[in-house]
């Protein structure tokens, strides 16, 4: 029974496909998978927008939206109708073709990332040997769309927002990739299902998730920071800092194109949370060995939603960083720390089983964290800013 429930979507797909001639079955199976992804994640996006607004409200001791439908749950429907009925404005001097393509490129690129995410046992659309690489390649394409939007709008706010976004995303992409490399070093595979399988074993009742190792915890922390920056979420939401840039790269977008940007942003959040879950939180595996009777896809989606909750929680807590703080943090703290984490991961790999490697790697990482936190991030000087080139 538990197994049927676990594989229910696979069985459903196979049953649906069995009505077709044998030659068409593989293609039809993929199409069904794509349809499922294209339906499920925007649905989650709709729910997340309302839960985010309610959660932010609660964080600020407010109620949040509660007017449309029971508990305000139909708010996304109202928002969708509103964005569909709004006028679609393209600035006269904008590059119309690129302006039109930018949101599409974003959404398509983000959707591609879901293709390699294992969302449950056997529930991966394309089991690629280099799935991780494919995911990051697709993630990098979102930067292109952001810059397309900013550049084609012919608006200073859009362009500044886009430039900030690209600078930020490229900086943090390095950290994101390197923190994922640690996992690849241990697993020895770029395939995401293989990475989940490597974590899906238990000692007693406790799972072998990578977050429960010193290098994994450090890697996960760096991954989480970089993922927040990659998805332009607060406190790294400089590209759309509304207090200084109106709305950043999507200033000139209205109506449904704006909604597409919004969708793309949230889908990126889902996919990057999904990848983080896969890499460090054991993907679809259950957190305790006696909980394996609960279907794997439930575990995957609860972990993703938990990450989304943390994203929202951070947004409700932290103020926006300044551009120089953002860059300093990426290059002076995150990158060295992630590189050190790689060294520690290598140590872990080659020190073999035993308690020694726990002590050594924990000591190195903790010492580095404290020292870098104390000396690396220290403010150089206070006082009025000197403009070297403007005088």
């Amino acid at each position: 029974m538990a197994n049927t429930l676990d594989q229910i979507f696979i069985l459903l797909r196979n049953w649906l496909v069995s009505f077709l001639p044998a030659a068409l079955r593989p293609a039809a199976g993929v199409v069904l998978g794509v349809i499922a992804i294209v339906c499920v994640f925007p649905g989650l996006f709709a729910l997340t927008t309302v839960f985010e607004r309610k959660g932010l409200g609660r964080i600020q001791n407010r109620l949040g939206p509660n007017r449309v439908g029971p508990y305000g749950l139909f708010q996304p429907v109202a928002d969708g109708i509103k964005s569909l009925t709004k006028e679609d404005i393209v600035p006269l001097s904008a590059n119309a073709a690129v302006h039109f393509l930018a949101p599409l490129v974003l959404v398509v690129a983000v959707f591609m990332g879901f293709a390699v995410l294992p969302m449950g046992r056997n529930m991966v659309l394309v089991d690629m040997d280099a799935g991780l690489l494919f995911f990051f390649a697709m993630g990098a394409a979102t930067e292109l769309s952001v810059f397309m939007a900013g550049w084609s709008s012919r608006n200073k706010y859009s362009l500044l927002g886009a430039m900030r976004a690209v600078a930020q995303m490229i900086s943090y992409e390095v950290v994101l990739l390197l923190s994922a490399v640690a996992v690849v070093m241990i697993t020895g595979s770029l395939s995401l299902p293989a990475i989940v399988a490597a974590q899906n074993t238990y000692t007693g009742i406790f799972p072998h998730w990578y977050i429960f190792t010193p290098w994994g915890l450090a890697g996960f922390a760096m991954y989480a920071i970089a993922a927040t920056a990659e998805t332009n979420r607060s406190p790294f939401d400089l590209p759309e800092g509304e207090s200084e840039l109106v709305a950043g790269y999507h200033t000139e977008y209205s109506g449904f194109k704006f909604a597409l940007f919004f969708l793309g942003e949230y889908l990126a959040m889902f996919s990057i949370s999904g990848l983080g879950t896969t890499l460090f939180l054991g993907g679809w595996s259950a957190p305790l060995s006696f909980l394996t009777f609960i279907p794997s896809w439930i575990w995957f989606f609860s972990k993703v939603m938990l990450s989304i909750f943390v994203f929202i929680w951070m947004r409700g807590t932290l103020p926006r960083l300044r551009q120089d703080q953002l860059m300093n943090f990426a290059w002076k703290f995150c990158l060295p720390f992630t590189l050190l984490d790689l060294v520690v991961t290598a140590l872990w790999r080659f020190m073999g089983e035993g308690w020694m490697r726990w002590v050594v790697s924990t000591a190195i990482l903790a010492a580095a964290y404290v020292l870098m936190g104390r000396f690396g991030m220290r403010k150089e000087h206070f006082g009025p800013r000197r403009y070297r080139y403007a005088e």
């Binding site: 959660g55 609660r58 964080i59 600020q60 001791n61 407010r62 109620l63 509660n66 929680w313 951070m314 409700g316 807590t317 932290l318 703290f333 964290y369 404290v370 870098m372 936190g373 104390r374 991030m377």
Partner: protein, 207 residues
């Protein structure tokens, strides 16, 4: 004292988490008043838009306004339109006065400054605390005529009790003064008519 990197962030996260879960536990945290369903009583001094006070049961006969047009002239955004009547009617002390044949105020122009109330020598125009003035007709619906503006003195008492009591005391005093004067004048006339006796209390009418 140096802090560990990220310590402040964790502290802040704990604070917001406390808020998040606290709102589900204690209702005192949620200060929001969900307006159309829940209402809080307006404070006594609240003022939104003027109305015309009338005494007695008949609004048209009881209007205190004598169409002196001071408010019309003083109104900064010029939202009051008054036509003075041709005939006269008795006011609250019985004196013959003009009355406003037309008294319109444009809600969309009024800025709730209360200057009309301050300049009115007859306590005829006061501020209402009614704030739900929305209408679907943005031309005629926003121009209130004297019938829409008329409110009884009892209504005035119900929304601004302290102020209305003061006004009533002042008006009563004036009325008493006028009546005493009239009575004194009548008595003097009666005395004069009765006998060419020495004129008795000419100063008796004062208060």
């Amino acid at each position: 004292m140096t802090h560990l990197l990220g310590e402040g962030i964790l502290k802040g996260m704990a604070e917001t988490a406390k808020n998040f879960f606290g709102t589900y536990v204690s209702k005192e945290r949620l200060t929001t008043v969900e307006y159309p369903e829940q209402r809080i009583p307006t404070v006594e001094a609240a003022r939104v838009f003027p109305f015309l006070v009338y005494d007695g049961a008949d609004w048209e006969a009881g209007l205190r306004c004598v169409a002196c047009q001071i408010c019309e002239k003083e109104c900064p955004p010029k939202c009051i339109y008054i036509d003075k009547s041709k005939d006269k009617k008795p006011d609250y002390v019985g004196k013959q006065q003009f009355y406003p044949a037309r008294f319109d105020i444009d809600v969309s122009v009024c800025m709730s400054c209360q200057i009309c109330v301050e300049v009115c020598p007859f306590e005829a125009i006061k501020m209402d605390n009614e704030f739900e003035l929305a209408t679907s007709d943005r031309f005629g619906g926003l121009l209130y005529d004297r019938k829409q503006l008329a409110r009884s003195n009892e209504y005035y008492h119900s929304i601004h009790p302290t102020e209305a009591a003061e006004v009533d005391a002042r008006l009563g005093e004036e009325k008493a003064k006028v009546e005493a004067k009239a009575r004194a004048a009548a008595e003097a006339a009666a005395a004069k008519a009765a006998a060419p006796a020495p004129p008795a209390p000419s100063a008796g009418g004062g208060s």
